[in-house]
C-alpha cells in the first residue's frame, strides 16, 4: 500500500491517533516455543508412511503374541497324516478362497487337489482347519509363523538393545578420556569394522554351535560401532563446554552433569539408530537361519521357516508365503519407521 496521503478513502475512528502507551506493547508471540518432543511427534504424525509402518509393526507384534494362542495347534505338533495341506480358513472358504484346495502342476497339466475332502463324491470336508496350511511334517504353519516371529523379534530387539548400550558406553568412555585411551579404542573399533560381519558371524558359528544364544551374540558383536561413534561425537562436543565449567566448580566427578547433558542430546539419534538396526538384525538372523546356521529344529524363526518351506517351493509354494510376507513387512516397516523417526527428530529445514 504505497499511495500517499489518500486519507479520503480511509475512514478513521476516534482514538485512532492516540498512543497505545509503552506498557501495551506486547512482544509478538512468535514461534511459541513448543517442547521438542511435541514438535517431533507432530512431524512424525504427518509422515503417513511412518505412521502406517508403526501401526503395521504393532499389529504384527500383537499377532505374534496372540496368534499362537488362538490356534488349536502348537508349533511343534506334528500330524503325519495331514502333511502339506493347503490353507483353509472358516468363513473365507465359502468365498472360494482359502478353501483348502491347491493347484498342482503335473506333467499332464494342472490338477486341483483338496486334502480336506473326506467324501470324494459329495465333496464334503472334514473338520480340521489350517489357516496357513500345514508343512511337510504336518505342523500348522499359522502357529509356526507367529512363533517364529516372536523368536525373530526377540533376537532382534535383545541384540539391538545390548548393542546400543555397549555402543553408547564405548563411545562415551572413549570420548571422555580422550588422548591415548581414545586412540586405542578407536583403532580397535576400526579394525573390527574392517572385518565383514559375515566373517565374524561365521567364525562365531564355528566356535559355538548354532543356536539362539549364538545368533544373539553374533549380532551383538557387530552392531555397536555406529552408536559408539555418535556417542563419542557428542561427548567430544560437550567436553569443550562442560569441563570448563567443571574446573570452576567443586572438581568432583561431573558424571551426573555429563549424563544429564549428553543423554538428551543423543536420545533422538539413539532411538533412530535402534530402529534402523532392528531390520538389520532381523535380516541377519533370518539369513543365517535360511542358510542353515540358525535356530535348530523344532524351534522356528522366520528365517528357518523360509528355509524349510524352500524345500517344497516348487510343489507347495503356499508354504513359503506367510513367513516371507511377515519378514518383508517387518523389515519394510521398521525401515520406514526409522526413516520417519529420523526426519521427525532431526528435520532438515529446507523449506524456509
Amino acid at each position: 500500500m504505497t499511495d500517499m496521503q489518500n486519507n479520503a478513502y480511509i475512514s478513521f475512528l476516534p482514538g485512532d491517533f492516540e498512543l497505545k502507551g509503552a506498557e501495551n506493547t506486547k512482544l509478538d508471540m512468535n514461534f511459541a516455543s513448543q517442547r521438542f518432543w511435541k514438535e517431533a511427534a507432530m512431524r512424525f504424525r504427518k509422515n503417513k508412511g511412518a505412521v502406517f509402518s508403526l501401526i503395521t509393526i504393532l499389529l504384527v507384534i500383537l499377532l505374534a503374541i496372540f496368534g499362537p494362542m488362538i490356534s488349536p495347534y502348537t508349533y511343534q505338533q506334528q500330524n503325519i497324516k495331514q502333511t502339506n495341506w493347503a490353507p483353509r480358513v472358516q468363513g473365507l472358504e465359502n468365498l472360494g478362497i482359502f478353501d483348502g484346495s491347491e493347484s498342482l502342476k503335473t506333467s499332464t497339466g494342472t490338477k486341483l487337489k483338496n486334502a480336506y475332502v473326506v467324501d470324494k463324491e459329495t465333496g464334503a470336508k472334514n473338520d480340521t482347519y489350517y489357516w496357513f496350511g500345514s508343512d511337510a511334517l504336518g505342523r500348522d504353519i499359522w502357529t509356526r509363523t507367529w512363533t517364529g516371529t516372536r523368536v525373530s523379534l526377540y533376537i532382534a530387539v535383545v541384540a539391538v538393545l545390548i548393542d546400543m548400550l555397549i555402543g553408547m558406553s564405548y563411545g562415551l568412555i572413549s570420548g571422555y578420556f580422550g588422548g591415548r585411551v581414545d586412540s586405542v579404542l578407536q583403532r580397535f573399533a576400526e579394525i573390527i569394522n574392517s572385518i565383514p560381519t559375515l566373517v565374524i558371524v561365521t567364525l562365531l558359528m564355528l566356535i559355538m554351535k548354532p543356536g539362539l544364544m549364538t545368533i544373539t551374540i553374533a549380532l551383538m558383536l557387530t552392531g555397536w560401532i555406529g552408536m559408539s561413534r555418535i556417542a563419542r561425537a557428542q561427548m567430544l562436543k560437550l567436553k569443550e563446554q562442560e569441563f570448563v565449567l567443571a574446573s570452576h566448580t567443586l572438581g568432583a566427578t561431573n558424571f551426573r552433569v555429563i549424563f544429564s547433558e549428553i543423554l538428551p542430546n543423543i536420545i533422538g539419534q539413539l532411538i533412530t539408530n535402534t530402529m534402523f538396526s532392528i531390520p538389520n538384525a532381523i535380516f541377519t538372523e533370518a539369513f543365517l537361519s535360511f542358510v542353515g546356521l540358525g535356530i535348530p529344529e523344532p524351534m522356528c524363526s522366520l528365517g528357518s521357516l523360509i528355509s524349510y518351506a524352500f524345500k517344497s517351493f516348487t510343489t507347495h509354494p503356499f508354504q513359503i508365503v506367510p513367513p516371507v510376507i511377515v519378514l518383508a513387512l517387518l523389515m519394510l516397516c521398521f525401515n520406514m519407521l526409522a526413516d520417519g523417526l529420523r526426519d521427525a527428530l532431526d528435520p532438515k529445514m529446507k523449506e524456509m
Binding site: 576400526e190 565383514p196 560381519t197 567364525l203 535380516f283 539369513f287 535360511f290 542353515g292 517351493f313 516371507v324
Partner: protein, 313 residues
C-alpha cells in the same frame, strides 16, 4: 595426497595382519588336531607333525602361516573333501561368485544412479515417489525374497531362465541371481544418490552457478553430479558386504557352485580350515575394496587431492 595413500595402505596391511592373527589363534583353539585319526599311533602322528612343522613353536608357525596365506597356499580341506587342496576347491568356485557379484554391482550401480538422479531432479513429483518406494522396498526386503520371487515367476512359471545354475550356460544361469543380488545395491545407491543430490541442489554454489546463467543439463552434470558423486563412492564398501551375505543365500536358492555355498557347507560339516580360509578371502576382499575406495575418494575430491596452501590475503 601421497601421505594419505600411504597412511591408508599401512592401515589396510595392518588390519589384514590382525585378521590373520585372529584366524591363526582360532585355528589353534580348534578342538582336535588336523590328524585326529584314531587309526594313527603316537609315532606316526609325531612323524606327521614334524612333516608339517606342527611341532615348532607357535611364533614360527604363525609366520609360516602368514606367508602361506599371502601366497595363496591355503592348506587342505579336512571334511568336505578329505585332503583336497583348498585352492583346488576355490578354482572353479571363486570365478563364478566373482562374476555374479560383479554383474550385480555394475547393474545395481548403473540403475541405482539413474533412479537416484531422476528422483532428485523431479523431486516432489510422481517419479520421485516411485523411485523412493522402489528404493525403500529394495533396501528392506531381503535379497532372498527377491530371489525366491524371481525364481518362482521367471524360473518356474514362465521358464525363461533356468532355476538351477547350469555350468554349461553360465550367462543365462547368472541372470536371475544377479538381478536378485543387485536389488539391494540399486536401492542403496538410489537412496543415497537422491539425498546427496538434493543436498547439493540446495547449496549456495548451485545458486551462484544459476546466478551466472548456468541452466539445465549443464548445471546438473557439471555442478550437481560432480559434487554429489563424491560421497557416493563411500557407500560402495558396505554394499560389497551386502553382496557377500546376499550371495550366500542366492547361491543356495539357485544351487550355484560358488564360494558362498562352500562356506555354508564348511560350517555345517565343521571343516574349519575351509571356513578360516574363506574368512580370510572375504576379509581381504573387503579390506582391499575399502582401500581402493579410500584412494578413489582422495583422487576425486580436490580438497583431499591438493594440500592446502597457506592463506595469503
Amino acid at each position: 595426497m601421497r601421505r594419505y595413500i600411504i597412511k591408508r595402505l599401512l592401515i589396510s596391511i595392518g588390519t589384514i595382519f590382525v585378521v590373520i592373527l585372529l584366524l591363526f589363534i582360532l585355528l589353534q583353539l580348534m578342538p582336535g588336531s588336523p590328524f585326529n585319526d584314531e587309526k594313527l599311533n603316537v609315532d606316526q602322528r609325531a612323524a606327521l607333525y614334524e612333516k608339517y612343522g606342527l611341532d615348532q613353536p607357535l611364533i614360527i608357525q604363525f609366520f609360516k602361516y602368514v606367508g602361506n596365506m599371502l601366497r595363496g597356499d591355503f592348506g587342505v580341506s579336512y571334511t568336505i573333501s578329505k585332503n583336497t587342496p583348498i585352492t583346488q576347491l576355490l578354482q572353479t568356485r571363486l570365478p563364478i561368485s566373482l562374476s555374479i557379484g560383479g554383474e550385480a554391482v555394475l547393474l545395481g550401480a548403473v540403475i541405482g544412479l539413474i533412479l537416484g538422479i531422476v528422483a532428485a531432479i523431479w523431486h516432489g513429483t510422481v517419479w520421485d515417489t516411485i523411485a523412493t518406494i522402489v528404493s525403500v522396498i529394495g533396501v528392506s526386503v531381503p535379497s532372498y525374497v527377491f530371489a525366491l520371487a524371481l525364481a518362482y515367476v521367471f524360473g518356474y512359471q514362465l521358464n525363461w531362465f533356468p532355476l538351477l545354475y547350469d555350468m554349461k550356460i553360465p550367462l543365462q544361469s547368472s541372470v536371475l541371481p544377479s538381478i536378485a543380488l543387485c536389488m539391494f545395491t540399486i536401492a542403496s545407491i538410489a537412496r543415497f544418490t537422491r539425498s546427496e543430490m538434493l543436498e547439493v541442489l540446495g547449496s549456495d554454489y548451485i545458486l551462484l552457478a544459476e546466478s551466472k546463467g548456468v541452466y539445465g543439463p549443464k548445471l546438473i552434470v557439471r555442478h550437481v553430479l560432480r559434487n554429489a558423486l563424491i560421497p557416493i563412492v563411500t557407500v560402495l564398501a558396505p554394499l560389497i558386504v551386502g553382496l557377500m551375505t546376499g550371495s550366500l543365500v542366492v547361491e543356495k536358492i539357485f544351487s550355484i557352485p560358488g564360494i558362498g555355498s562352500l562356506l555354508v557347507t564348511a560350517i555345517q560339516s565343521n571343516d574349519y580350515n575351509v571356513v578360516i580360509v574363506l574368512s580370510f578371502i572375504y576379509s581381504a576382499m573387503y579390506i582391499g575394496i575399502m582401500l581402493v575406495v579410500d584412494i578413489l575418494y582422495g583422487v576425486i575430491d580436490p580438497r583431499i587431492r591438493l594440500s592446502k596452501e597457506g592463506p595469503h590475503d
